[in-house]
Amino acid sequence: MLMPYGAVAPGATIHLGVRVHLADHWHTYWINPGDSGMPPRVAWRTPPGLAVGGLQFPVPRRIDTPPFVTFGYEGDIVFPVEVQVPEGAQPGSELTLSGTMRWLICKDICIPRKTELTCTLRVGTETLVAHAQQQARIEEALALVPREHAEWSFSASVDAVAAQLRVRPPADVDAAVLEKSMFFPEARGFIDYQSKPQWRHDGTDHLLMLKRSGEADLGGPVLRGALLVRQDERAPIVLSVAADVNK
């Protein structure tokens, strides 16, 4: 685990990181693993009053292994984890957080892994960073975790064969930029991953046409996913999409 802090203040909200290093050609998975696979999950054991969130998943990459498509990660990955230090924590005391992570790594075959995680926080009067490099890795990963952006709006419609994601971006994002973006659907088995999504442009609105797989229904009134918008010479925009499906 990445634990960049020399001390944490009572009541502070901090981010730790679960770091995974995979050998060449091995991968692990995003929330929606695609055609096969399984995302990592952690069961935490925490001292009283300490709140820990689930793994946060940076936007994945598409892994094509014909005839299948999966969404996941290769190489060196950090999954940020948010921790809320209890208000009543005593400076000078220690808080140990531990957990069991169950995850799956695959190349042509898959191996389930079970990893014990542990991390001790030293409570101080203020939060101090002791390992700037570790903190930079966590920040870097956090920047790739999809977030909602107020200046973007989404809606969706769904019929028997297709789903349309209607995107209204801020004024400085044009059709050419959107054409290079990638959408990762969160619902499993709903979208046919093999079919290349197609953009239609309609004034200030842009429509992403997604073919349904027929394998599963959306399972709710909201089309969710992550939209990765790459821009030349600027940091990518990593959007969390929650588009209400119009009746």
Binding site: S36, F68, D108, D159, Q198, K211, G214
Partner: protein, 206 residues
């Protein structure tokens, strides 16, 4: 009804231009699609044909004994228990392996006989789809990937075995088993409530 579906698909193909429609099995709602021709050799080399099972409920279970998701259900005895329970009620249960020769999960028929014996599997037959033809015909993606075929040959359920997508046998007890639910409904002459879900598991090793 069938005609109508085809027209909708044609219109969609036109509108969406450039998209090739996936395997036919994926584009038909369950219950309205008659299963494809499916002829696969069993461990004795005899050809088993789905069409010959008309009038019976048939379960198709895609497997690969080396896949951790399959091991989850076999190490806990869950798959064997389901096989026993439903073959005991007259259901035909075919365990199908589509691993190509040289790929993970491929074994000769002789080796398979030993493995079936060892695992205590109680399916009606184990079928070796080495060419992958049957798997592709049904768009089998994962191991396990489960299909329940109704007496009239329509697909009553296809998808995951249950709703906890893990490799951990401890999760079986609290899971909702979609295959058992579909079979219970069909055996009682009721409508299958959940007729399709996204499967989970290892990829089929075509």
């Amino acid at each position: 009804m069938k005609m109508k579906i085809h027209m909708t698909m044609a219109v969609a193909a036109l509108v969406l231009g450039g998209w090739t429609l996936g395997a036919i099995a994926d584009d038909h709602p369950p219950g309205e699609y008659k299963g494809p021709e499916l002829s696969v050799p069993d461990l004795s080399g005899a050809i088993q044909t789905l069409q010959h099972q008309a009038g019976k409920i048939v379960v198709l279970e895609w497997t690969n004994y080396d896949c951790p998701f399959v091991k989850k259900h076999y190490s806990a005895g869950n798959m064997q228990e389901l096989q026993k329970r439903y073959t005991g009620k007259g259901v035909v249960w075919w365990t199908i392996c589509s691993s190509a020769e040289g790929k993970q999960g491929y074994y000769t028929a002789e080796k398979w006989k030993e493995m079936v014996e060892e695992s205590g599997a109680a399916s009606t037959a184990t079928l070796l789809d080495v060419s992958g033809e049957a798997g592709r015909a049904l768009s089998a993606k994962t191991t396990p990937h489960m299909f329940v075929i109704d007496r009239d040959g329509s697909i009553a359920y296809r998808g995951a075995i249950d709703n906890i997508r893990s490799t951990d046998p401890d999760d079986i007890e609290g899971a909702e088993n979609f295959v058992a639910a579909a079979l219970d409904a069909l055996l009682q002459g009721e409508k299958v409530k959940v007729s399709k879900t996204a499967p989970y598991g290892c990829s089929v090793k075509y």
